[in-house]
Amino acid sequence: MSDAVGRFRFMDQARVNLDGFAVENVELGLTAFSSPHDPIPSITIEQGRVTELDGVAEADFDAMDEFIARHGIDVTVAEEAMALSDVAFARLLVDPFTPRSEVVRLSAGTTPAKLARVLSLLQPSELMMAMTKMRSRATPSNQAHVTNRQDDPLLLAADAATAAAFGFREIETTVPVLDDAPSNAVACLIGAAVGSPGVMLQCSVEEALELELGMRGITSYAETISLYGTEQVFIDGDDTPWSKALLTSAYASRGMKMRVSSGSGSEALMAGSEGKSMFYLEARCVSLARALGSQGVQNGGIDAASVAGSVPKGVRALMAENVMVLMRNLESCSGNDALMSESDMRRTARTIPIVLAGSDFPFSGFGMIQRYDNMFGPSNFNAEDVDDLLAIQRDWGVDAALSTQDPTKIEQLRRQAAQACAAVYRHLGLCDFDDSHIERAVDAAGSKDLGTTDTMAVLNAATTIMGSGISVIDVVTALEETGFHEEAERVLAMARARLDGDYLQTAAVFTESMEVLSLITDPNEYAGPGTGYLPDEHRQHQIDAIRQAVTVDDLRREQAKSASDLLHALGPAEPSSDPRDVVIGVSPAVGREVFTTLSGATVVEVVAELLAGLEEEGCIGRIVRFSDTVDLGRIGLSAAKLSGSGIGIGLQGKGTALIHRRDLSPLANLELYSVAPAVTLDLYRLLGINAGRHAKGARPDPARNPYNDEAIEARYHTKVIALQALERSHVVTNAIPEELSQEGIR
């Protein structure tokens, strides 16, 4: 592209151009919502039995059709539901007078092809409406990934505690080294319990091992039970709908929550799409998920999100997948767990509608570790983005289930988690960690900060856990016997909760007081404006009170750090008749409460440059404080009127400066330095020189405002408002101008 014009050479550099974009190709399955090979929705029911489904006769059902036909269709409403036109059905999703329960009732009688067609009609804003209305649980929740490259148990524990403290109610870990899995699960179990009661844990590994860890009570849920949209890919995945059904019941039989995983693009990646659209194939997965009796589905592309993202409307389809899950009355764990673009803007755009609409879990794994430590591969949002999501949550007044945390509290929790984990590992004879390892784990922002660790020791610990049959009961005992009583109680409470089975129900999470919130106990009853979940006062405060928010008092304290008694008042300022006299008018809080400008230079340093510039032109500067106004134009004009030359400089404490002349109106100045944060001391010197030249009637070389590409207003506007408030607090009507001391300034 080197022969393209500069505009395109420049555009080619954008990170979005690292992403792959595919021309739609039906044969490869590279089409989002529709393919000519997608079936026309249909169903035939004879004597209560489905004998034809989406154009396939019973005798030709493949394994998926068969399972869906036998288990997944409510035959009592199928004919009614299938008779609704696609548009009429789609409108139910956004009609506030149609309750969620009615959509659920009708959806139970639909075939995969029908729901695919219905949802393909929804525009993005309609998908958002539908998600808000259809999500299973009223109160939003969220899931975090906690992993690291070294499977370091102490770092896993510290990071699990951190994730729990930030509000994540499910933690998913996995391994770079499969055999480490039992160690990772135990470490995260301990860490999560330090962070909060009631945090569910999963260790995503091979299915038999995952189930085993669950049976030992170490993990409490599972979600990597993968479904695929064609029989061939399903079989390639070494399962059938019947084996998945058995597995689904196996988890429930041990009191463990589980959801299945599917998502657009996986079939295309395995060259097994059979020419069908991604969305239709996903519709089969979701139908099957309901038929299996899974309480929920993790979808929205998942690992293949970027495949969907490569085709037109692919990102829209990812969200439509989530809504389809909700229509089937299941929990949606809504993806956003794989980095789907190199572009920050594009990956954010993919996720934000779901955050705003509110899903049961907007992320099926927000990476609460840095990208490089995410052993699932980077999530779409990671530790790098926590503050962004907290800010976005606050901006829109929505609840993405995250809470700002105090750094001191997090440090304490991380230390507690690392110590508890080390104590349990020592007590159970798994591994001895020294104190410096604990402290490194506490402070580490990622595993690269740990230095070299003994990865063989981790493997040994994991092998011992597996070999000696260590279970949650051993972990509880070890915690108690090493003095971590609260953590022992919390870990046991999670194990005990499986006896109630309440968290097997759709979309279940635990509150910090171990109440279960689910479709049953916390149903979503959204029915248009004025209804549905809203954060209560306490929760709203958590959302609003991000740690970066400042008050005027905070700013006053910050200014006080650079307080000095230079620029003290000498007495009333008098007019001068000296033609070399140039008055530097300063704002009311200068020398009182405002000492540092937005650029970081002190007011004294700025004034020194102005005086030096004036001196270079043979002028004499005087410093006068005008306390009757905060308006810079009036300060500058008043300064000009007082000065013998008729030229004045106006300077606000925040650093904004101008040159004025006594015969001009307040807003018509000669030069203005409006971008205070970017004004350098050299520029203030130039302002002094130019004021001197105006005073002498010479021609100044006008200064250029130093614009740059920073979001200067975003950075400084809150400070400006607070600084102006400080200035205003020193305004006195008709105050007499005061001359300030120059002593010690130059």
Binding site: S253, G293, L499
Partner: protein, 122 residues
């Protein structure tokens, strides 16, 4: 959930599942296993909340509580593609039904027929 206190599969009452009991060596994993009656209760809840499939799953799970972890994993493996012949699946279905697991047995019967037709048997 309901106001009656829950029992573990072992028969132990929920209130007996304590940290002290763990430290005293009085707990086993069976004390942390869900009871089939609890799953039946959850099945009625799921059914009442418009999800009969989830209810059916809980009822199959209630049957599976009677089997050891190893046997459950064995059943899962048997249903994976190309592991068992349709006849073996049908026989297993018979056996499970006879042992009082008719719902899981039905799953095997159904699989036997479909695996035959779709050539998914060993």
């Amino acid at each position: 959930m309901s106001d009656t206190s829950r029992q573990a599969l072992s028969g132990k009452d929920t209130q007996q599942i304590t940290v002290d009991a763990a430290v005293a060596g009085e707990l086993s994993l069976d004390d942390l296993r869900i009871h089939p009656d609890t799953l039946e209760y959850q099945a009625t809840q799921a059914h009442a909340h418009a999800n009969p499939q989830l209810a059916a799953n809980f009822r199959r799970a209630a049957e599976l509580t009677r089997l050891s972890d190893e046997e459950v994993l064995g059943l899962y493996d048997m249903l994976r593609p190309f592991r068992a012949t349709p006849q073996e699946l049908a026989d297993k279905g018979e056996e499970l039904t006879a042992r009082g697991l008719p719902l899981v047995g039905e799953l095997f019967h159904e699989a036997a027929g479909v695996y035959e037709r779709r050539h998914l048997g060993a």
